[in-house]
Symmetry: C2
Subunit: 359 residues, 2 copies
């Protein structure tokens, strides 16, 4: 059977005050009331049965996840007692699903993006399931076909095509985030894809990789799957590491018996990191203001306005250019757009000077 | 007996969204929870008995006034059914107080300013009461001794000193708001004072002036005082005119048997018109941001921040200079300070494009 786990961990500091106390950005209902998590869920319609969709998130957010995805089975929220990087979300998910279904093929998908068209995404995901099911020892990663020399992503250096799967390639190497010059070379060569952080594998394949690379982790997640009551004791003992460092990179260079394969994903890939990338997803008024929620402008242009106070609150701007305005019930942020990436710094100032309850 | 009427009418469009639907700015609790009305009331302590203080305001605001001034006698709020300019507030107050006390001497004071030191104000008010009581037919107006060539005020051109009252002068002429050049001449001459819009007179003196100048108004306000149940019928029939045009200017040029006298007021006179003047009254942080309410700044300077959302809401600014941020439960305004005086224009845009309920 095919399963999908939506990863909705991490924190949303860069979107403060939309996010508070590290609430994951995937749960923020900022797109006319819909969250990235909800969009990621709806993106899976028809690819796997609804009962086979799980969400891995922080336990503190399980209630929010259940509210946003009422269709989700109650056992299908994996609530981590604490965040311990991506490997452990992936490993625990694999162990839990393998316990339910030893032949399971599992896709681990992110919910940090707006992806269009959905058809294209679903096609790639179906191909990835097929590769993972067919090719022995396959660790499949989705590779976004680059549309720009982006320096904010890692890259996959693709090698030869996989027999029987036109366009699907073995991954020769994982590349760290490049300089602009290098990114331009990657783009021109046509041999590099963005590392999307989405994976498909047989649950048992992933677990056997862990047996070889991180046997402690493998044993611990199997123990948690078998004895869920031990989750709180065991989860915090897991080594904090990313799945790329722990598994994908070693496997790509032949350190194990697996092979890393990438399925191309030719979509419009909009990552919602900070407010600048969020702004690209909002609708724009005639003066180039990207707006979500109720807003009126008098001679304002090039601003990003996010009004999350609901329909009874109006944000009005006058004579403003290239500014960011974010209004939420607990805090209002006004900044130069040029400073939008400094939100983390501001949040730390808020924490020390005003109080952690506002951060 | 001495009486004081605090005038708290007018609208506060220029302070939107602090004020909404024309709520008078005097009632806005923007100075750490205190309103200009409350400050005006406290400024009178010891000058007249508390029972002799009245407030003239729009009827719609009577409840707010009573809440802000719980010491006020219940019959001491004069609620106008509609605003009909300053003469009618003044005339109705005189008629009502004359009915209670035919020998009453009445001071009409404004609540649009922050005035320091209070001692100086009280001294001038006491002198004004004495002049009004002693000099037959005296219409006393307070004249603020100018500290700058302000072009936003009318000026009083003083004539000879009044015998027995050193420093107190007859007013030769009322001058409209001058050009800067003219205002500089006024300031240099030392013979012009700002028209403060505060008056002291015997109630019967004012009413007898009205008998001569606007007999219909005189008759109507006497009728209202005698038959308060006719207020709603009669008040709207009063001619809409300012007390300066109707009484003070004609009397100053000898059109009646009164004499217009000005008592100097040597105070720091801060008029709260729009946000720029409001800003001068707020405390300033080390980066020159004028702030009321909870605010944290990262590299912001020269801003005006008014957070009226209460202590559970934080306004954070980052990299912002010379901007205005006003956060209220119903609306948030963000503007260039250079545009702060365009708030009326914005409010009219809000009314037509968003809805009157937000204006």
């Amino acid at each position: 059977m095919h399963y999908v786990v939506i990863m909705a961990g991490g924190s949303g500091t860069r979107l403060w005050p939309l996010s508070r106390q590290g609430r994951p950005k995937q749960l923020l209902e900022i797109f006319e009331g819909r969250s990235l998590l909800r969009m990621a869920y709806e993106r899976l319609a028809g690819v796997v049965p609804a009962a086979n969709i799980l969400v891995c998130t922080g336990r503190a957010y399980a209630e929010d996840v259940a509210r946003q995805l009422p269709e989700l089975g109650s056992g299908n929220i994996l609530g981590e007692p604490e965040g311990r990087d991506s490997l452990n979300a992936v490993a625990w998910s694999a162990a839990e699903i393998a316990r339910r279904d030893p032949d399971a093929v599992v896709a681990m998908v992110t919910a940090d993006q707006v992806i269009t068209p959905v058809d294209e995404f679903q096609g790639a995901l179906r191909t990835a399931f097929e590769v993972a099911e067919t090719v022995p020892g396959a660790l499949v990663t989705l590779g976004v076909v680059p549309t720009s020399p982006h320096v904010g992503y890692g890259y996959l250096h693709r090698a030869e095509e996989i027999a029987g799967f036109p366009g699907v390639h073995r991954v020769a190497e994982f590349k760290e985030k490049p300089t602009l010059e290098v990114a331009e070379e990657y783009l021109a060569s046509g041999r590099y894809w963005w590392n999307a952080g989405m994976f498909v594998w047989r649950a048992e394949t992933l677990l056997s990789q862990l047996d070889q690379l991180l046997p402690d982790t493998a044993a611990t997640v199997r123990e948690i799957a078998a004895h869920p009551e031990r989750l709180d004791d065991l989860f915090p003992t897991l080594r904090r590491i990313s799945v790329d460092y722990a598994v994908m990179e070693p496997a790509s260079v032949g350190a194990t018996d697996a092979q890393v394969i990438s399925v191309p994903l030719a979509v419009d890939w909009k990552d919602v990191g900070g407010f600048l990338s969020l702004a690209e997803l909002l609708s724009t008024d005639e003066h180039g203001n990207a707006v979500d929620g109720r807003h009126v402008a008098l001679d304002s242009s090039g601003c990003v306005v996010v009004n999350s106070m609901g329909p009874d609150h109006l944000v009005a701007t006058m004579g403003l250019s290239d500014c960011l305005v974010v209004a939420t019930p607990s805090a209002t942020l006004v900044a130069r757009l040029a400073d939008a990436e400094r939100v983390k710094e501001l949040v730390s100032l808020v924490r020390t000077h005003v109080g952690a309850e506002f951060a």
